[in-house]
Symmetry: C2
């Protein structure tokens, strides 16, 4: 028997979720010698991704949204890299590296009907690219940045791109792709250290939204107005951007993290400018753009290998750190892409 710690969704939060209350670490064990059902695979989770959208899954099951609610009393789940340790399915071999939606446990038994969500990514074994990158810059968050900016932002060379939460899992890549595409790129983040990092990445300008007046800072850093806003934040930030947006600006809504843990959402007062400025405000879910996956992986892999793109991660060590890691993401306490390392390859 070996340890098989699980991260359980224990209670629906109203504000910020709390480790030990809404998410619980449950110790258990598994017999790795036991047979597994026909068609199933047993995965050893290597690293897992915690992301802001998970807050939306911590809700009552009857409330509908784009991603399913976490079942109460069950392990949470999300994107992970794992390795096959046992297979009763001819599509998977022991040792295969797997990318996909996986329960947040040390060992995950995946029944046959769910194996279609697993993708073999053995190229990660012989790559110079760190394994955690496959759930970050090369995983769902990276593709979110790529799809959001290119498909929905419709960037034209020379335009001004503004990114909020710009040092985060998605934002840091959005800004760097913006530079590659010839945009003037401005970002905001919640500490001077993060702002310094954005400048290091090649952002043309950046500011700390906690210490500066947002409207003043936007005027200063985006002297030609905003053509594309990559929206991760919502609330007052969105209102300020609408006021500073150019005619025909695209506001690409990836998330609105400032609103996730509020009981009452912050209102927006200046939507009438959507008409006056012919604005386009568009929300998207990355999983609805599978046609872009091939090009995304090809481009981003090249950009990483050529050094054109850097990607900062914060790695929490051990699956039991998952609840705190998620709260850090929601509060902006982390820096860059937050991942949890569960086991060595």
């Amino acid at each position: 028997m070996v340890s098989n710690t699980k991260i359980i969704f224990a209670q629906v939060p109203t504000g910020y979720p709390e480790p030990g209350v809404h998410m619980k670490v449950e110790k258990s064990e598994i017999d790795l010698n036991a047979d597994i059902p026909q068609g199933s695979v047993l995965l050893k989770v290597l690293c897992l991704s915690v992301d802001p959208y998970m807050r939306g899954r911590m809700r009552e099951a009857h409330k509908k949204s784009y991603s399913p609610a976490f079942p109460l009393g069950q392990p949470m789940n999300g994107h992970a890299m794992s390795q096959v340790v046992k297979s009763n399915n001819e599509k998977f071999k022991v040792g295969d590296l797997i990318y996909g939606m996986t329960p947040f446990v040390e060992y995950a038994l995946i029944p046959e009907q769910f194996t279609s969500y697993l993708e073999i990514r053995n190229e990660a074994k012989d790559s110079d690219i760190p394994l955690t990158n496959f759930i970050g810059v090369l995983g769902m968050p990276g593709m979110t940045a790529y799809v959001g900016l290119i498909k929905f932002g419709k960037p034209k060379k020379g335009e001004t791109l503004y990114v909020s939460a710009a040092s985060g899992a998605v934002g840091q890549l959005v800004g760097q792709i913006g530079k590659i595409l010839g945009l003037y790129v401005v970002g905001s983040a919640g500490s001077d250290e993060k702002v310094a990092y954005l400048k290091e990445l090649g952002f043309d300008a950046a500011f700390n939204y906690k210490t500066k007046d947002i409207r003043e800072a936007l005027k200063e850093t985006c002297p030609n107005g905003i053509d594309i806003y990559f929206e991760n934040v919502g609330g007052k930030m969105l209102e300020a951007v609408i006021d500073h947006a150019n005619t025909f600006a695209r506001i690409v809504c990836c998330g609105m993290i400032s609103q996730y843990n509020r009981e009452n959402p912050e209102p927006i007062h200046n939507l009438i400018q959507v008409v006056a400025k012919s604005l386009e405000i568009v929300g998207f879910i990355v999983s609805n753009s599978p046609e872009m996956e091939g090009q995304f992986r090809k481009d981003v892999t090249e950009w990483i290998k050529s050094g054109q793109i850097k990607y900062r991660e914060t790695i929490a060590e051990g699956i039991e750190k998952t609840p705190e890691a998620l709260v850090d993401v929601l509060k902006g306490n982390n820096f860059g892409k937050q991942v949890v390392k569960v086991a060595d390859l």
Copy 2:
């Protein structure tokens, strides 16, 4: 000398404009025998269009917006049908019928540099179609309906289209085009008489937003949710629609008339659904889609002639009625497209 009454923009309003205060009727005369400058034309205004967007032009000149502010102390202007009574420009002959932006006066002298905005529409002479239709269903409001629904609404057969201000200059055409395109069409308006008219036009359902709870009414009349919202109203109506919108819904913002005369705009609290439902909220100005004009005129002319489309107008008689007519439009007191008849052809 003949009468040449003018409608003057006299003062910037804060709430609803008032006739005699913010818009004044100024009596004057003109000598039709006097020579006119080289390159200019003298137009006799036959009918003119008053539209909600004009409220936005009643502002201080230093405030920028998509259409220029009316100059204080000068005649207001807008879309009109006129006839050339004198021409010192080889492109225009006496008797030509003209569509274009024209000062709100009985006789308008158009200097050469502004004649490029005038379009000869002599087909209106021999047509069965009433002259007022050329500033309504076949003019700017009609094209607004056509462009907004087809280009920005991206309708697919069987989808649900909801139109607010549905009996107005734009709304009544939006709904009827929706029916021609195979949509399930629902409208709202501000009186039972208007609602009855919508049903007469073939709307699948309609409700009076003044006497019904908007959210309840939307649930009842749009049982499959809303795929396209043609937005003329803003405020609480927009909020209710966002709550009832389907995934991938398009919210086409043509205007937000409920907000034009408020000092403080009504806030929107549920924009976070833009992400969750992958909504698209897009504003447009019809003049930015000139490529659609030919097809618009062809289609709508055919639909009028074949009886597929009806178009209700309220005609105020006499240019001096222009201020009241505009206030009626802003308050929803009119029914259908509001025009002012200035003179007979």
